[in-house]
Amino acid sequence: MPQRIAVITTVYRYLSHAQHEADRILVGYPRQGRWHRPDMKIVSLYVDQKPEGDLSATRAREFGFQVYPTIAEALRCGGDKLAVDAVMIIGEHGDYPRNEKGQILYPRYEWFKQCVEVFEKDGRAVPVFNDKNLSYSFEKAKWMVDASRRLGFPVLAGSSLPVTWRLPDIELPLGCEIEEALMVGEGESDAMDYHALEALQSMVERRKNGETGVKAVQLIEDDAVWKAGDAGRWSRELLTAALSRSDTPQGLTVKDGRTQDLVHNGELARLARNPWAYFIEYADGLKATLLMLNGVVADFNFAARVKELGVQSTQFLLTPEPNVTYSACLIGKVEEMFTTGKAPYPVERTLIVSGILESCLTSHNQGHKQLETPHLNVRYSAPRESQHCRT
């Protein structure tokens, strides 16, 4: 019997997360050199918004599932008891307001809560996948994780960056001593910075003694970013390493194809459009920085100085549209949780990154001041096995 899946989503149109993630359950996806067809069936769908291009009705017709007007009905398939084996909450894309920090108020928490209410009422809980961060609010995200613990159902969440291909295919050894870490990303807040922060977290969580939380964050922008570099607050050596992995330098490369040593040729500050630096100070003393460098590069690259290994660096490969095969890497992990009942990597990763992002954006809003973050005392251990696409 195929597993019965409910999909709860904001919008279902071409190249929305719901389309490329849920479609993989419907039509299969490339996995380890095969077209893998999951032993799963989407039986119900809740879609919050139906803008032009909505595909929910045509998909329901073609693949024989129902679209329900509420989340509870979708989970119960129109009956009076929970009638699915797993839930996918894909609360990305669609028209939702932003708060004063610029965070898009996707109703992931509210929807998760409705799922939990059904689980409680019906006396049974099933695995839940939550696409991207848990919530724009750490408090709400924490509630979600606590609820899953209380009811004992597994949750997998987060970005596809931690699980996509890496160039080169490296993994930091579990228990390594990381001296400093730096991530370079691009794109708008609060979507793309989340992806970059989670990619960074998926690397540093492997350090000695595991994750023990974040004690302070700060977000600065524009010239202050370069001044902080001059003052040694982030490492030029690590930025050189991260940028050496980029396939998308802008400026002179676009103009005439040349390669560039962007950290040393004077182009960096000229190219960057409103650069942001996110500083993360971990409870164990590790310092990590995310530089969002719009106008400089258009990919996501990581570098860290690791004791005994020296500088390690890699690109998190975002494969091109429309296939976006990186989302197949993510759905492979979702399927693994649905099949085994165990999340292949801890939801605490997504929890802490949800909180890091929220606090960074609060810092940005409060005149870029450093914020203590005692609430981010999230502890967890990284999975022993690598979880990114490498086979």
Partner: protein
């Protein structure tokens, strides 16, 4: 045989190019010597100096003059001999980079662009002969469109005793996943699923296969015959299973650029009918090696835009498959960084005086490309290739990009 002198501590190089414009092979290759490139987590500057440049065709979009102005250590010379002698009478460089790709050159009746790689090579080795000294040469892509000339280039390098390396960036680029064909594997059959046209990307598709299958048990022994399939014949051959459909599917499942066969789906596996509809001009080169191994290179322009490989290996239930990943600046990237491992492989040869991987690989793929073109020209008849009985052993260590 001329004395091949030990490489000096900091070699001087000459680059001999057809044309130098944005996104031409010369630009990708020569720029990396001049401006460096990202390598092993830093911006690497090759420990050698490219001091002389010859460019055969200088158009309105030429960049060689800008490069020479910005890098005064490199001078442009009016002839190949001048570039190699730095305007003097004797060979004055320690290595030569020959890039005979792009530019306006005539096509022959078989559709082959007559890039002057052989002609340039002849002028290079004339300087070697006149100087009584030879140095390593890297030749970008295949050796010559003309098999006899390609063979002569190879034999000249052997008789004169200089290191000679050639080929595509496919064998040396990233792989997703980052896997190597196990040395000594017993390979039953292999395919590549690629894109592009005849006498161009077919060569890359053949190098995609060859860099993998050369690692099989016994090493390379050469190819007995080649047959091309195109258009209707292609689909008939597909239907009849001339090449294994499961290997073609495995290779397709490694693609990151599978054209969606249905509107509103972003990533869906095509049916046979979908493939017929999407691929207007399918081409296959199907060939058999001396030891019986059968390989097929598939150009599926319209269905994919990347290079994928699959093989059946004894002792494995599932096909071995991977993508030889090119970060292609066709909108995806701004830098064709697959030239970085190619340039790095050249650097190693210029430093050690030894080819980083065997030129026989490219001699064979040069002959395979010509034989595929010949088969197409002869109404897709089978072409016997006794001249391709080329045996060689692969490198022990992997030479693709993994660090």
């Amino acid at each position: 045989m001329l004395p091949a002198q030990p490489a000096p501590a900091r070699p001087k190089l000459a680059a001999i190019c057809t044309i130098y414009f944005r996104m031409s092979h010369s630009q990708h290759i020569v720029d990396r010597f001049l401006d460096g490139y990202g390598w092993n987590g830093t911006h690497h500057h090759p420990p050698m100096d490219l001091v002389a440049l010859y460019v055969d065709q200088v158009g309105n979009d030429d960049l060689s003059r800008e490069r020479a102005a910005r890098h005064p250590e490199m001078k442009i010379y009016p002839t190949i001999a001048d570039a190699l002698t730095l305007g003097g009478r004797k060979l004055a460089v320690d290595g030569v980079v020959l890039v005979g790709e792009h530019g306006h050159y005539p096509r022959n009746e078989k559709g082959q662009t007559k890039y002057p790689r052989y002609e340039f090579f002849e002028q290079i080795v004339k300087v070697f002969r006149d100087s009584g000294r030879s140095v390593p040469i890297f030749n970008d892509k295949h050796l010559s469109w003309n098999w006899d000339w390609a063979k002569e280039m190879y034999e000249t390098s052997r008789s004169m005793g200089f290191a000679f390396m050639a080929g595509s960036s496919l064998p040396v680029t990233w792989r997703t996943p980052s896997v190597e064909m196990p040395a000594g594997a017993k390979i039953r059959e292999a395919v590549s699923v690629c894109y592009g046209g005849v006498d161009s990307y077919d060569f890359h598709g053949l190098e995609t296969i060859q860099c993998m299958v050369e690692r099989r048990r016994g090493g390379e022994s050469g190819v007995k015959w080649v047959r091309a399939y195109r258009g209707k014949n292609f689909w008939n051959a597909y239907q009849e299973g001339v090449w294994p459909r499961d290997l073609m599917e495995a290779a397709l499942c490694r693609s990151h650029t599978l054209k969606p066969a249905r509107p509103s789906f972003n990533d869906i596996f095509p049916t046979a009918d979908d493939m017929r509809r999407l691929v207007n001009d399918p081409v296959a080169y199907h060939y058999e090696h001396e030891d019986g191994l059968k390989c097929t290179m598939l150009l599926l322009e319209g269905l994919v835009r990347d290079f994928n490989f699959a093989a059946r290996i004894d002792g494995r239930a599932e096909p071995f498959s991977t993508q030889l990943y090119l970060p292609m600046p066709d909108g995806r990237t701004t830098l064709a960084n697959f030239f970085s491992p190619l340039v790095n492989s050249m650097e190693q040869m210029f430093l050690t005086g030894k080819p980083t991987y065997p030129v026989e690989r490219t001699l064979l793929t040069t002959g395979l490309t010509a034989a595929g073109v010949e088969s197409l020209y002869r109404n897709q008849a089978r072409v016997e290739t006794p001249h391709l009985a080329i045996g060689y052993q692969p490198t022990k260590e992997s030479t693709f990009w993994r660090t």
